[in-house]
């Protein structure tokens, strides 16, 4: 036994040395070669182990190749055949790398999706086992007619509790695997310079206008307009705190912000790990052209958060919760103990786009009546649907395992879950494609801890389809990534300001204080 352990150690050592020697070659990704489909094979009913699972999903016709990894310990080789249902059948096949990874050729993939637009693809996986080739049960992917907005902007951050280190906002081209850095903070520690960046937001899926926040050192809100950018501090004695969750008006140079006093507590023995709550929250409006800020809603007995404009900009949706009755002494401690009694409804207020005034709030979704709570309302760009995160309590559903995406048909008034798109774990922060047919959202369905970006088709009947993981060139990427995807936002075009411009603003420009308007 000891000898075999010793041999095993030596083998491990040798394997490591081989790995070290091949370090440079390992930096180069394996590329699947075109491979002939086996002519002789037997069908197998074995379950296909693939990651990510792209079976039976609806995909955009302009999406990057859906590379995946196959796992069959008895197989020495894999061949995957993609066929569209057009006549004559078009398609191609490719072999897997040694580790079962399928790296699909971009041009072949594009041609295939072009041919299959509005139809289905059939994917057949063949595995070479000692007894010969077997074929798994083929699966399909439906290629939608409608394209997804080609750019996805997101933040990558470790799922830390209180601390942060290196983090950044990046932009992925969804039609291929290109990633551009929008902004990254420092890679090494500097007590004078460390800063956090968050909550990027765009106007109507267009990067013409963008904002993002900088906190701690060099703090401020970066506001961009085309190629121009400036830094603001949206703060005033009459405002609770700096602007937090933001939403650009679809046409006017206005941003609705929530202003939150946010804190978090850590469960010691509970299904959830963290509870993020607001000790207070109001709504404010920032006029980007005039650098003015004013209060939209400030109440003492309610919390208001997550503002969202309607598609035509004439209505503002937001979440609101009634402060539970409790003693005023030790307010925060008492509030924490009642964390599960904070139930957020969705309200809306009419907005006059000429006078910039708001009308009377009206309830849109009375979740508290069902002992439920809403968060992150987002109206589809066609104005028809309101999709939001729905869970048992609170507003930070990213930490609530029962959080699902729900939809309200604003025309018909009916309310329903997006069952096909949801999972058993968290679904939260979501963003619409400008044509209202695609949604990207945050989900923790992979492992419960690391947030990943999922894409789901949203059909004209208002139904969400089965979601799929944001494709990566290396399908193992998400298994190895120790950061979470945060605030995914779809846009029609690439961010127009450069990383250097933003860096220069953050480091070298004094933030201008916004004027408060009564």
């Amino acid at each position: 036994m000891k000898t075999s352990n010793h041999i095993s150690h030596i083998l491990h050592h040798l394997s490591f040395m081989a790995k070290v020697c091949g370090w440079a070659t390992l930096l180069i990704a394996c590329s699947s070669k075109p491979s002939a489909v086996p002519t002789a094979f037997t069908e197998t009913t074995d379950s296909l182990a693939m990651y990510p699972d792209y079976r039976d999903v609806t995909i955009p016709p302009n999406i990057a190749p859906l590379n995946f990894q196959l796992n069959d310990s008895s197989a020495t080789e894999f061949v995957v055949a993609f066929e569209s249902e057009v006549a004559p059948k078009a398609g191609f096949s490719c072999g897997a790398c040694e580790d079962g990874k399928i790296d699909i050729d971009l041009s072949l993939w594009r041609q295939l999706l072009y041919d299959a637009r509005g139809r289905s693809l059939t994917v057949s996986v063949y595995a070479h086992r000692p007894a010969g080739w077997v074929r798994y049960q083929p699966f399909t992917m439906r290629v939608a007619e409608e394209e997804i907005d080609p750019y996805l902007t997101y933040r990558l951050i470790e799922p830390g509790y209180e601390y942060y280190s290196q983090l950044g906002i990046y932009q992925r081209n969804l039609t291929n695997f290109d990633v551009e850095t929008v902004y990254e903070n420092d890679r090494t520690f500097s007590s004078d310079n460390c800063h956090c960046i968050n909550c990027h937001n765009f106007q109507a899926n267009d990067t013409e206008r963008m904002i993002l926040h900088v906190r701690e050192n060099h703090k401020g809100t970066i506001v961009t307009h085309g190629n121009d950018a400036y830094k603001m501090i949206i703060k005033h004695d009459s405002i609770l705190a700096s602007g937090a969750y933001a939403c650009w008006h679809p046409t006017l140079p206005l941003v609705a912000f929530s202003s939150n006093k946010t804190a978090q507590v850590f469960h010691m023995n509970y299904n959830e790990k963290i509870e993020v709550y607001d000790a207070a929250s109001d709504l404010i409006l920032f006029d980007a052209d005039n650098n003015e800020v004013r209060t939209i809603l400030r109440t003492s007995d309610h919390f208001e958060t997550f503002p969202c404009w309607s598609a035509d900009g004439t209505r503002l949706y937001y979440c609101t919760a009634r402060l539970p009755k409790m003693p005023e002494e030790n307010f925060e401690a008492n509030l924490v103990l009642r964390y599960d009694s904070l139930l957020y409804d969705i309200y809306s207020m009419p907005f006059d786009t000429v006078t910039y005034t708001f009308g009377e709030p009206q309830i849109e979704i009375n979740a508290s009546a069902q002992h439920k709570s809403c968060s992150v309302p987002r109206v589809s760009p066609d104005g028809r649907y309101l999709v939001f995160a729905y869970a048992s309590y609170g507003q930070f559903h990213l930490y609530h395992k029962d959080s699902d995406l729900w939809c309200k048909d604003l025309q018909e008034g009916n309310l329903y879950p997006l069952t096909e798109s949801n999972s058993n774990d968290v679904e939260s922060y979501h963003s619409w494609s400008s044509n209202s047919r695609w949604q990207v959202f945050s989900s923790r369905r992979d492992d419960g801890d690391y947030t990943r970006t999922y894409i789901a088709y949203f059909d004209a009947q208002g139904q969400g389809h089965r979601a799929f993981l944001l494709p990566q060139r290396d399908p193992e990427y998400n298994l190895l990534l120790l950061k979470s995807y945060n605030c995914p936002e779809l846009t029609k075009n690439a961010v127009q300001v450069s990383t250097e411009q933003i860096r220069h603003l953050i480091y070298n420009t004094e933030a201008e204080l916004a004027t408060y308007k009564e």
């Binding site: 095993s8 150690h9 491990h12 050592h13 490591f16 790995k19 070290v20 091949g22 390992l26 930096l27 951050i157 470790e158 799922p159 830390g160 509790y161 209180e162 601390y163 942060y164 280190s165 290196q166 983090l167 890679r187 090494t188 520690f189 500097s190 007590s191 800063h195 956090c196 968050n198 906190r215 701690e216 946010t262 978090q264 507590v265 850590f266 469960h267 010691m268 023995n269 509970y270 790990k273 509870e275 993020v276 924490v336 930070f396 990213l398 992979d446 492992d447 419960g448 801890d449 690391y450 947030t451 290396d474 193992e476 990427y477 298994l479 190895l480 990534l481 120790l482 979470s484 945060n486």
Partner: protein, 525 residues
């Protein structure tokens, strides 16, 4: 064989051989545990994506190289061999490049000596809150640079016969200067071995026992941890006390041995990310929380360290084990997948992978079974308890899963001298003889509340020692620090001694400072 032959042999090889052997001894025996923990606090894998975070940092490639070399410390004897080879080769090359005369050849060992002193000087910052890849990257690069230089010199020398060598011809050296040179060489070699040892012991006396206990914990050698703590009982550092408490909890001796070691907490010389002095109070808290059943608090801190320092084997293994205990199977699979990418960690993966999706196997594992026994008995928030959590939580615990948890709670109260809470807990001991320290504490309290003696009549047996202690303690009541030192040998392990003379320095200030060592309050994600 002439004297000249032995002389040349000595100056050429024997000195280097002696240096090599002493360095091997230093690096594998003296620093073996420390370097092993440095290895655990590091992570390297032949995967570009996994190492990207380090690669993109300034000199990232060098730190990756250093981490690769550090993996040899999976077996300290191999790691020590590598260090000895690097230092010896570096010293020889340094001497070669400078063309040192025999009488000055002792100089060749000085750069290696400087590196050795540096490793002793930085203490925990050798790997904690600092890049562990530095440790071996520095000597490695030193050797590489010298080797390139030596190659150029050799080529130059071969091409230019008129090359002016600084070496004094051997025949011209006087016997006296040769002897002086030899003596100096021996002295420098001995100093390279002894001085770093002495410096480390003086400047960071906790380093070796602390890392020794950590290695023992890796091997689940709780008895060994306890022995190490007793051996260094007069050293008092939060970190050592924490690991000692783990050992006692695991061996069931928490209630009768906790106060055996000095609990006064001396200052550690270490610096945080911003080069501010820090007491490294978080260093041991992940292990302490984990073994105290506070796995959420352990996960909390482990996640913070993952964020601040990047992945390390220690953190990834801890997160994998916590995920297993919590039944987060996919998360466990993720961490094991990443750990499995690192060289030499196959055994860890093979041990824990079969437990995924098998709560029966998790419960059957002795380490996990011990933790599952003491999980928090009710829902609460981490913030509601005193820090550190593993003391604070237990000091305020009011309901218990079992007797073990009750004893821990009582001991946490005794440690933090929270006597009202302690007395509340002691009601549960009525009718039986409580464990030693608890009985001693009850005896103290019986002076305030005589009814305690009625509830615990057995305490009278402890009266005579207590009277003796009161007599001995009397002269020191105005100068407790002096009393702590004077009475330690006689009364260590005796709770009244700890109550009066133990843990006098408040660590509250240090703890609050400790919390400000990173980029905070951005992690709501």
């Amino acid at each position: 064989m002439s004297k000249r032959f032995f002389r040349d042999l000595w100056s050429g090889y024997i000195a280097l051989l002696l240096f090599f052997l002493l360095m091997w001894l230093w690096a594998s025996w003296w620093m073996g545990d420390t370097m092993r923990i440095a290895y655990e606090r590091s992570y390297v894998a032949p995967d570009a994506m996994l190492m990207h975070w380090l690669w993109q940092k300034p000199l990232g490639w060098l730190w990756i190289l250093g981490r690769i070399l550090l993996t040899t410390y999976h077996w300290p004897i191999i790691g020590g061999l590598l260090v000895a080879i690097l230092l010896t080769a570096g010293s020889w090359l340094f001497g070669y490049c400078l063309r040192l005369p025999i009488s000055w050849r002792w100089l060749q060992f000085l750069p290696a000596g400087a590196w050795l002193i540096w490793t002793a000087h930085v203490g925990l910052n050798l790997f904690y809150m600092r890049e562990p890849g530095r440790i071996l990257a520095i000597p490695f690069m030193w050797v590489v640079v010298l080797a390139i230089l030596a190659l150029f010199i050799a080529i130059y020398k071969a091409r230019h016969r008129s090359y002016v060598v600084l070496d004094t011809p051997k025949k011209e050296l006087s016997r006296r200067s040769m002897l002086t040179g030899d003596l100096l060489e021996i002295l420098v070699i001995a100093a390279c071995f002894a001085l770093p040892m002495e410096y480390l012991t003086t400047r960071h006396p906790y380093m070796r026992p602390l890392t020794c206990m950590q290695v023992q914990l890796l091997n689940n050698d709780y008895e060994g941890m306890s022995r190490t703590a007793h051996k260094y009982a007069k050293l008092s550092y939060h970190q050592m006390a924490g690991y000692y408490a783990i050992a006692l909890a695991r061996t069931g001796h928490l209630a009768d041995q906790l106060f055996d070691i000095r609990l006064e907490y001396d200052t550690i010389r270490a610096y945080d990310y911003g080069n501010q002095p820090v007491q490294c109070l978080h260093y041991h808290q992940i292990d302490c929380n984990y073994h105290a059943g506070l796995i959420r608090a352990a996960r909390h801190r482990a996640t913070e360290e993952l964020t601040l320092d990047g992945p390390s084997l220690y953190i990834l293994k801890m997160l994998a084990k916590i995920s297993l205990v919590e039944g987060d199977w996919e998360l466990t699979r993720k961490y094991l997948h990443i750990i499995g990418k690192a060289p030499f960690e196959g055994a860890f993966v093979r041990k824990y992978k079969p437990m995924i999706g098998r709560p029966d196997l998790v419960q059957a594992d002795p380490e996990f079974a011990a933790i599952l026994r003491v999980l928090p008995p009710y829902h609460t928030f981490e913030q509601f308890y005193l820090r550190p959590s593993f003391v604070g939580f237990y000091a305020q615990l009011k309901t218990f899963r079992n007797e073990e948890q009750l004893t821990w709670a009582a001991m946490a109260c005794l440690y933090s001298k929270r006597m009202p809470e302690f007395l509340q807990l002691c009601r549960r001991f009525v009718g039986s003889m409580p464990p030693r320290s608890i009985a001693e504490a009850l005896l103290i309290q019986s002076y305030k509340d005589p009814s305690i003696l009625q509830a615990f009549p057995q305490l009278e047996m402890l009266q005579s020692r207590f009277d003796l202690f009161v007599q001995d303690a009397q002269p020191y009541m105005q100068d407790r620090e002096a009393g702590a030192t004077a009475l330690f040998d006689k009364y260590h392990g005796y709770y009244p001694y700890y109550y009066i003379f133990g843990n006098l320095r408040s660590s509250r200030k240090e703890e609050s400072k400790e919390e400000g060592t990173g980029h905070r309050n951005a992690g709501i994600n």
